[in-house]
Amino acid sequence: MPGPYKETDLTERVEAFLSDLKRGGSGTGPLRGSAETARETTALLRKITAQARWSSAGDLMEIIRKEGRRMTAAQPSETTVGNMVRRVLKIIREEYARSRGSSEEADQQESLHKLLTSGGLSEENFRHHFAPLKANVIEAINELLTELEGTTDNIAMQALEHIHSNEVIMTIGRSRTVEAFLKDAARKRKFHVIVAECAPFCQGHEMATSLSKAGIETTVIADAAIFAVMSRVNKVIIGTQTVLANGGLRAVNGTHTLALAAKHHSTPLIVCAPMFKLSPQVSRYHNLLLSLQVKSCEILSKVNVHCPVFDYVPPELITLFISNIGGHAPSYIYRLMSELYHPEDHEL
């Protein structure tokens, strides 16, 4: 019988994915980019939709929410997982609403009048069974997957609009999006890139070797020299781990200093972030890693060592967000958020 095999196969896949996530966070497994994580999460959610047993949209949403909670608990710092779950939940709601025939706007209106009159109406709406719902949801998830696959290219296509020739661009750490962005611009323009190495993991070195192999003039500097060289920099282009609802960032360690230095010199700070990084909620999670390789171990017991992985960057230090759907100001992010996710899904 196909049913049980499918179930076990599904649970195996989910367990494998969870353990991958857990390992990826501790630094021992292969480091995966957020785009990969997003794709895998979405693929997994599609599989769940296809193979799990559910009869109505509400059931499906419950299953997905449950799995989503497990996945985010496995690796809280990887916010793309939660974002994809919320996207899928929104897709389900939309498809359900479309099947029911009511217009999308009527359901999503958050006007005060609606809130007062409707009350807890939305809860019971998802019990209806629609036959084509499954196919519709899977089709919509496929669309989401195609969108995910094209994000990096979409962002890189906008590179020439933002980089002119003979510019000096500064970046920090390693971001695949920024790498693709700069390489795309380098095909037509000549410019100079300064990479801050971002200790202690020094991902900046990898970025620098990759950019220089593409023929871009690159310089590697230590983190301490960021402010010293900032006066000669024309633009700062960075990637980020998460974009927050207020337009702020949760980015790699050292980004806040970089943003402050850029603000001081009035240098524009551009963030290349695809839409799947927009996250309505983040857990206050700071990884503490003691991989500083301190040689003299006898004093280590008497000393507190802090090694945060992420920095919070407030939205007033950011000039522009470049995403796969175009460029936005930080003050517009809340609007995009409301289009991507349903407010009830913010808390999984």
């Binding site: 690159t218 310089t219 230590a222 983190d223 200093t257 000393v303 090694c307």
Partner: protein, 587 residues
């Protein structure tokens, strides 16, 4: 000359005929005549071909009004040509120009290979320049006469300038001394213009300067003209980022001492040891370097014997010059070392000729001891006393790197019983903070350790920031280890007070607004790191478009600094020139 006149005339004649044709049609007789006068006048004054063509254009368009200006210009040209003629007569012929340039190359040739490789590479850069000049002089000589004479003019001008520079008093590496002597001569109330000479170490991209340095090192030898006993010239290493092509970049694996012959009678062994300690980073930190330098000088003075017909005051200063050049090449001198050297030289030159040698030497030794005691040790005590008022119980103090003065302050405060904890911020690639951490923990102070990228994470806990300084510049900027300005910036963003501690002997008269114009480039290989068994930047030299930048210093603007604590009291950053002036008046 007739040839040149003819050639000059040639385009002039063509255009004159064109003008004549125009005249026939447009009846501009007067213009044409004037134009001919000017054209013929030019051939006597050897105008530059390009300039002349511009003037032709202008004469055509502007007409009468230009002639007066033309005449004035012609008069100036006349005077210049006369001067050139005199210079040319002095130099006898073009051949002497060529001989001079080939002479500098030939001087390199008969030296032993070790020296010639070191000298030839800097002269390889100026060598193409003079080589191209003679080639341009030789090859198109009969045909292209105007360019030949143009090159000749340029060569003459360059030779003249070099002669003037060589004859002017004072050397390139001592602008401070120039300034100081200038100030001493004039009464302190007048503002004397300072004849500033740029130091060599920030003009590395200028091949003339490199040539001059090589020549200076040749001159600064002690015994005769033995070519093995010269101070070698240290070579730059690796690809330099274009923004910093005016600075030296040395490799730690190639210290200057490897190129010295043994035994080396030019440089005192204590100074050689000191140079090696500087270049390998064994002695680091501005106070440590100054104290080590002064101790080495004391040793030099103890071992010094005045040669028979020399005066101690003049000869000893000359003896010190090659040592200082050597140390400068091992590692560029810091501002504090510069001030210490100035003081020592002043004391030496103030020794009267009546003094006997032993007496003079003991006097000098006492002066140096006094300087160390007064300016460094007692100053540190005074600063610690005033800083303790600023440290309260339950304070969280942030320090950066390893500053001997700041550590001293923290030790003193801890002894006095203040309860505080310290956050030590460290940065790659030097990781000096670990040394500070070790010292603090040994005293029993509770510490936290972070890297500089985590400063914005840890700063909300901090109540004050204490920073050390390498030098305080006359426009109020603080020159310190790279990263200091970053910490001051973030502290300002979080409204945490920033206090800089600095002795007055580190104040210097230079001004600087950014970290590019004058800095030190450390060994770029230091940035390489091995993580997970893999070194990403291992083969960075092979990749042509990849550069590593390892800066040592940066400047912090005065608006980030709230207070400077010196032994004269607590002053704002902008009062540094006041202190300098007061010090100079006292001296």
């Amino acid at each position: 000359m007739c040839n040149r006149c003819a050639l000059l005339h040639f385009p002039a004649v063509i255009s004159f005929f064109q003008q004549v044709l125009k005249m026939i049609f447009f009846k501009e007789v007067i213009l044409g005549f004037r134009y001919w006068v000017i054209a013929s006048g030019w051939c006597f004054f050897r105008r530059n071909v390009n300039d002349r063509q511009d003037d032709i254009e202008r004469a055509k368009t502007e007409g009468k009004e230009l002639t007066k200006e033309e005449k004035q210009r012609l008069r100036k040209e006349k005077k210049q040509q006369k001067k050139n003629k005199e210079k040319k007569d002095e130099k006898a012929s073009q051949g002497s120009e060529k001989e001079k340039k080939s002479g500098s190359l030939a001087a390199a040739a008969p030296q032993p290979p070790a020296k010639s490789t070191t000298v030839k590479t800097p002269s390889a850069v100026p060598a193409p320049a003079p080589v191209s000049v003679p080639s341009s002089l030789e090859a198109p000589a009969p045909v292209d006469k105007p360019s030949k004479t143009k090159a000749e003019l340029k060569a003459e001008r360059r030779a003249r300038q070099e002669a003037e520079r060589a004859s002017k008093p004072g050397k390139k590496g001592e602008p401070g001394q120039q300034a100081a002597s200038g100030k001493q001569k004039a009464p302190p109330s007048e503002l004397q213009p300072v004849i500033k000479r740029l130091p060599e170490h920030i003009q590395v991209d200028n091949p003339d300067v490199l040539k001059k340095l090589a020549k200076k090192l040749e001159r600064q030898q002690v015994m005769g003209l033995n070519p093995t006993k010269k101070i070698p010239l240290r070579l730059d290493y690796g690809y330099k980022v274009s923004l910093f092509s005016h600075l030296h970049q040395y490799s730690r694996k190639a210290p200057l001492t490897q190129q010295l012959s043994i035994p080396s009678t030019v440089i005192h062994p204590a100074v050689v040891r000191l140079g090696l300690q500087y270049s390998q980073g064994i002695v680091a930190g501005s106070n440590a370097r100054s104290v080590a330098l002064l101790h080495a000088f004391k040793q030099v003075i103890r071992d010094y014997i005045t040669p028979p017909n020399e005066e101690l005051s003049r000869d000893l200063v000359n003896k010190l010059k090659p040592y200082i050049s050597f140390l400068n090449q091992c590692r560029p001198l810091s501002a504090s070392m510069g001030n210490a050297i100035k003081y020592v030289k002043k004391e030496i030159s103030n020794i009267s000729s009546q003094c006997k040698e032993e007496e003079a030497k003991s006097k000098l030794l006492n002066c140096i001891e006094w300087y160390i005691k007064e300016k460094i040790i007692l100053a540190a005590k005074a600063i610690a006393e005033s800083s303790i008022e600023k440290i309260n119980n339950e304070d969280v103090i942030l320090v950066y790197g390893c500053s001997s003065l700041v550590n001293h302050i923290l030790f003193e405060a801890f002894e006095k019983g203040r309860k505080f904890r310290v956050i030590v911020v460290d940065s790659r690639p030097r990781l000096e903070g670990r040394e500070a951490l070790r010292r603090l923990v040994q005293r029993g102070i509770s510490c936290t350790y972070v890297l500089i990228s985590a400063v914005s994470y840890i700063l909300p806990e901090v109540s004050k920031v204490f920073l050390g300084a390498h030098a305080l510049l006359a426009n109020g900027y603080v020159m310190s280890r790279v990263g200091t300005s970053q910490i001051a910036l973030v502290a300002r963003a979080f409204n945490v007070p920033v206090l800089v501690c600095c002795e007055t002997y580190k104040f210097c008269e230079r001004v600087q607004t950014d970290s590019f114009v004058s800095n030190e480039l450390d060994d770029p290989d230091d940035l390489m790191v091995t993580r997970n068994g893999k070194t990403q930047l291992e083969s960075w030299q092979e990749v042509p478009s990849l550069g590593l930048l390892n800066l040592v210093y940066d400047v912090t603007p005065p608006d980030f600094v709230d207070l400077v604590i010196t032994e004269l009291g607590m002053i704002p950053c902008t009062s540094v020139p006041v202190v300098l002036r007061v010090k100079n008046v006292d001296q």
